[in-house]
């Protein structure tokens, strides 16, 4: 599903040049659950952003479902992203002005799904995430665990092929964190590919494979059994 080769990302300021990704190459197969680990500043979030088509690489190749997307323009990236990729962030990134229902509905609006169909799909996914009773609440009225469940619901409502999770349990206590990890595992078992950036060895154990990074390069891969 994902094949990146010699990917480079360099951040430049007037005086300093920081190599965030240094000719990195990774493959992720469809249906895999991959965890990316490494110390702060090793480039794992940069990698996740490029994989999520939120950022573009400076050099190298990025094949997404055998299509070269490394140098797609913003419009094409948005188009590909909204149909194929779901995101879960550490800080949830729910829109405070929208209710739970409306937050989950958002990706469907941008993919042009009709109102009736949207309602049906949002309710289904809220039900699945056991957050239906909170559908008319605003994010600030929910606990952290509930907010992240809404974020997961929003990430999956469009049935994406890939979910990118950036430290999804980082802002949660262990009980809520476990709950979110179970949700991601369930989704993966149903066929969704998941790539997760985490600092937590505990969370990483939910994955099939751990890629360890240092200074913008992969240094080790652990296959989980």
């Amino acid at each position: 599903m994902i094949k990146i080769r010699d990917l480079e990302k360099i951040y430049r300021t007037e005086e300093v040049e920081t190599v965030a990704l240094n000719k990195i190459s990774i493959d992720v197969k469809e249906g895999e659950f991959v965890a990316i680990m490494g110390p702060s500043g090793c480039g794992k979030s940069t990698l996740l952003n490029i994989l999520g088509l939120l950022d573009d690489p400076d050099n190298g190749s990025f094949l997404f479902n055998n299509i070269e997307v490394a140098h797609f323009n913003e419009r094409k990236r948005a188009e590909l992203r909204k149909h194929n990729i779901g995101f879960v962030f550490q800080s949830f990134n729910l829109i405070d002005e929208l209710t739970v229902f409306e937050n989950v509905e958002l990706p469907l609006i941008y993919t042009g799904v009709k109102s009736g169909e949207r309602k049906k799909r949002v309710e289904e996914v809220l039900d699945k995430m056991q957050i239906m009773h909170r559908r008319n609440h605003y994010p600030q009225q929910l606990s952290g665990g509930q907010q992240q469940r809404v974020a997961v619901a929003r990430a999956v409502v469009n049935n994406p092929k890939l979910i990118l999770a950036d430290e999804p349990t980082g802002n949660l206590d262990s009980s809520n964190g476990n709950e979110v990890m179970s949700l991601l595992t369930d989704l993966n078992e149903q066929g969704t590919t998941i790539i997760m950036v985490t600092h937590s060895e505990h969370d990483a154990r939910y994955s099939h494979r751990i890629i360890r990074m240092l200074d913008g390069q992969t240094v080790l891969e652990n296959i989980m059994v």
Binding site: N49, G52, L54, D55, E74, R75, A78, E79, R81, K82, H83, F87, F89, N93, L94, I95, D96, E97, L98, L106, P107, I109, Y110, T111, R154
Partner: protein, 811 residues
């Protein structure tokens, strides 16, 4: 999607109530202000367009050019011209003469002073003044028929169906009956042709003065002539045909003019006089023809309105950028969720549109409420009439969309351009004072400061011309209207009755009035260079100069005991001595002068008076002469009162008037007010510019308030750290105010030369004018700074007083 946009827009606007409120209120005030000014401009440019055949109706004007003077003309026309045009030009479909006059009207026991208009039968064929009752074809057929307006009918009878009623009107010596033949709809405010009472021209055709003018192609009696051309006629543009017409009736103009030796040496150009046809739609806004207003003023007003609206829009934009400060995350999330940039632009524009529609509605309600006040200010009777101004709704809808686009496009374009990952990582701070918002705030203050400087200069000039010694004493003088009474007989009796009463200092009279709205009588005199120069004549009582406080600089005053003083003696002013006689005051004494046409008796100069400004101060003093006619028939009686409360004296004048003239109302004006009226326009403009300046400063401060609030929010962490490091409240206030003070200083530097240039140009229209002084700029700058610092300080003090621990925790 649209529903989603609207929903989000509502929630976002509701969440930031104060900023939204400031934003919407500012825009509402801007739109209200602009709508009123727009209404004024639309009204001014809509004059006379309501006539069905407006495109074919022309006023006959006399046009002069040459002699080094700016070309110009007058609508005052000679009595026989209209008929001659109808006769001589096959493409003149109709011709009409219009002559206005003052008259007394009796309704029951009451006597009113009103105006009456005499018009030829073709009046209703040319002009579109719908009749409520009566028949346009027959309404002016008989000389005793009268068409009355609905407003006048209601005023007199309390009803509009008054056809057949008899109205007694006195134009000469006695009241005469007129039969109301028709009732017309009220005359639109944007009509150059106006009437209350309309009567057939036949009624006055046998009046000696009209008869005389009908034979004399040079005599004017204050009459206007209009023609309606047949469809397709190009007569108005075929000047050669009009010139041939002129030549036919004014053959002596073609003869070479007698010139003095000096004139020949100097090769003075001659004045070319011609007839022209002025489109009726051009009458109101053509300043070259007497009575026309300068469209420059209308454009100036539109510019001021545009400036105020621009300030409101800038406010809207800066505050919208400000309001979006907390929306970076939302933009990032939306982009991550797949929103295209165009969709985000659409969302922000929808919000902007929603707010501008709400502001436009509030603005229009505000404008409607303020309309009476504005009418007073603009001296107009404007109304938001869709039937009269069908273009108004489109202009307003266009305006709202334009405002939404102007104000919403910058935030929409900027916010939607952010990279999602950067906003989600909070690496971009949206809103606040960047170069763009700083420039906008500076521009706001440039406009506001410019308007305030202009207002102060207009007010200074007004104060100067009001306080200027105009050469005679206009204070405490009551000018009584003696037109339409048997003044030849009444005046001496009235004078006798009141002059010895206490509080009455002097009584005099003249056949001409003084001040704004009073006519002038002019004669042509050949000057020492052989040119014909206009001289303003004042046939008055012996004591006219003394009573008015006009000083003599040479010679003597009129003396009732010298018989020749009422035969051929004349007192002239210094301007006449210099411009017409080209000599000194002393040498002028004893000289004999005669009018250019030579049809009046020779007059001998017995005195020279100091120049006095009998016109507004845009003019220099023109040549004048005073004489005592053998039979004085004054139209104005002047009574100088003792200074103080005039009520008792006025009651005395009124009581004596009623005893002598029971059938005419006691109508008077204070002379100083009549002179003040010369500057009605200036007063109006200073009030309008003052209001616009005040509103723009207010709006600019609203914007500044919002920006200061944002600056305080954006610098919360910095303020917290500085306070921990020992900064005082004053330090923090200074920190936050410094930047804005700099902007105002830049605005002052930009606005000052611009305002100086515009006002210097404006002042050139005055023969007597002030010098623009530096302190106007200093005071305005200080005022703008004070207002701005106060506004910013409110926010700065609030930020400075916040507990630093809280500030740091927030960050």
């Amino acid at each position: 999607m649209i529903k989603h946009y609207v929903k989000i827009a509502f929630r976002n606007l509701a969440q930031q109530k104060v900023l939204t409120g400031i934003n919407a209120f500012g825009l509402s005030v801007g739109i209200a202000c602009f709508s009123l000014f727009l209404l004024y401009a639309v009204h001014e440019f809509s004059y006379d367009r309501f006539h069905t055949n407006a495109g074919r109706i022309y006023r006959v004007v006399e046009w002069w050019q040459g002699e080094g003077r700016a070309p110009g003309g007058s609508g005052g026309m000679y009595t026989p011209v209209a008929e001659a045009m109808k006769r001589d030009f096959a493409d003149v479909e109709y011709a009409v003469r219009l002559k206005g006059a003052d008259c007394f009207m009796k309704a029951g026991d009451r006597i009113f002073n009103t105006s009456i208009t005499y018009a030829d039968n073709s009046f209703f064929n040319i002009f579109t003044f719908p009749l409520i009752y009566g028949n346009a074809k027959t309404a002016l057929q008989q000389p005793d028929q009268l068409v009355i307006t609905k407003e006048k009918a209601l005023q007199l009878y309390g009803t509009t169906n008054v056809v057949g009623r008899i109205l007694e009107i006195k134009t000469d010596s006695a009241f005469e009956p007129y039969t109301i033949s028709a009732v017309a709809e009220n005359i639109p405010a944007n009509s150059s042709v106006k009437f209350n009472l309309l009567c057939s021209f036949e009624r006055i055709i046998n009046h000696p003065e009209v008869q005389k003018s009908n034979k004399d192609w040079y005599m004017t009696i204050g009459l206007e002539a209009f023609v309606q051309l047949k469809p397709g006629s190009r007569l108005a543009y075929e000047q050669n045909r009009l010139d041939l017409f002129r030549k036919k009736y004014y053959s002596e103009e073609q003869k070479p003019r007698k010139k003095g030796k000096k004139a020949e040496k100097k090769k003075e150009p001659e004045i070319q006089t011609s007839f022209r046809l002025q489109p009726i739609r051009d009458i109101h806004t053509n300043p070259q023809i007497e009575g026309g207003t300068d469209p420059k003023n209308i454009w100036l007003l539109i510019t001021i309105a545009g400036a105020v609206l621009l300030i409101a829009c800038i406010n809207f934009t800066t505050l919208a950028i400000g309001r979006s400060a907390g929306r970076a995350k939302e933009i990032g999330v939306r982009k991550v969720m797949g929103s295209q940039r165009t969709q985000l632009i659409g969302q922000f524009l929808a919000e902007s549109l929603l707010l501008s529609v709400a502001s436009a509605i509030t603005g229009l309600i505000l404008a409607h409420a303020l309309l009476p006040l504005f009418n007073q200010l603009a001296d107009r009777k404007l109304s938001f009439s869709l039937s009269r101004f069908p273009e108004l709704p489109w202009l307003l809808v266009g305006l709202t969309l334009l405002v939404a686009l102007l104000a919403g496009s910058y935030p929409a374009l900027v916010l939607s351009s952010f990279k999602p990952i950067l906003v989600l990582k909070q690496k971009i701070r949206v809103g606040g004072a960047n170069l763009f918002t700083r420039s906008l705030v500076t521009l706001q203050f440039v406009l506001s400061i410019g308007l305030i400087i202009s207002t102060i200069i207009i007010l200074q000039q007004l104060s100067y011309i009001r306080s200027k010694n105009i050469g005679f004493n206009k204070e405490n003088v009551v000018m009584i209207n003696a037109q339409g009474i048997h003044s030849k007989k009444i005046y001496p009796l009235y004078k006798e009755a009141i002059q010895s009463q206490s509080g009455i200092l002097s009584v005099t009279a003249s056949e001409m009035g003084l001040g704004s709205g009073e006519g002038q009588m002019g004669w042509g005199f050949t000057d020492h260079l052989g040119q014909v120069k206009g001289v303003i004549a004042y046939p008055g009582d012996y004591n006219f100069l003394n009573a008015m406080g006009i000083q003599l600089v040479a010679g003597r005053n009129f003396n009732p005991s010298i018989a020749s003083d009422s035969m051929g003696a004349v007192i002239v002013n210094e301007a006449l001595v210099q411009q017409v006689l080209g000599t000194t005051n002393e040498k002028a004494l004893g000289m004999e002068i005669r009018n250019a046409k030579g049809d009046a008796a020779t007059k001998k100069i017995i005195g020279v008076s100091r120049n006095f400004n009998f016109e507004d101060l845009t003019h220099t003093v023109r040549p004048q002469m005073f004489y005592r006619p053998a039979i004085l028939e004054p139209s104005r009686i002047f009574v100088r009162l003792q200074a103080g409360d005039p009520r008792r004296h006025l009651a005395l004048l009124d009581a004596n008037w009623k005893k002598l003239v029971p059938d005419a109302p006691f109508e008077y004006h204070f002379l100083d007010e009549k002179f003040d009226n010369f500057y009605k326009n200036e007063k109006r403009w200073s009030a309008i510019a003052g209001w616009a300046g005040g509103i723009s400063i207010f709006l600019a401060c609203l914007g500044l308030f919002g920006l200061a609030a944002l600056a305080a929010v954006n610098r919360t962490k910095e303020i917290g750290i500085r306070k921990v490091m020992g900064a005082t409240v004053t330090n923090v206030v200074a920190l936050l105010s410094k930047e804005f003070i700099m902007l105002i200083a830049i605005a002052l530097l930009v606005a000052s030369p611009l305002a100086w240039y515009v006002m210097h140009d404006w002042l050139q229209a005055y023969a007597w004018r002030i010098n623009i002084t530096w302190w106007v700029f200093a005071v305005t700058g200080f005022f703008a700074l004070l207002v701005a610092v106060t506004t910013v300080s409110v926010q700065a003090i609030k930020a400075a007083l916040t507990n630093p621990v809280k500030s740091l925790r927030t960050e």
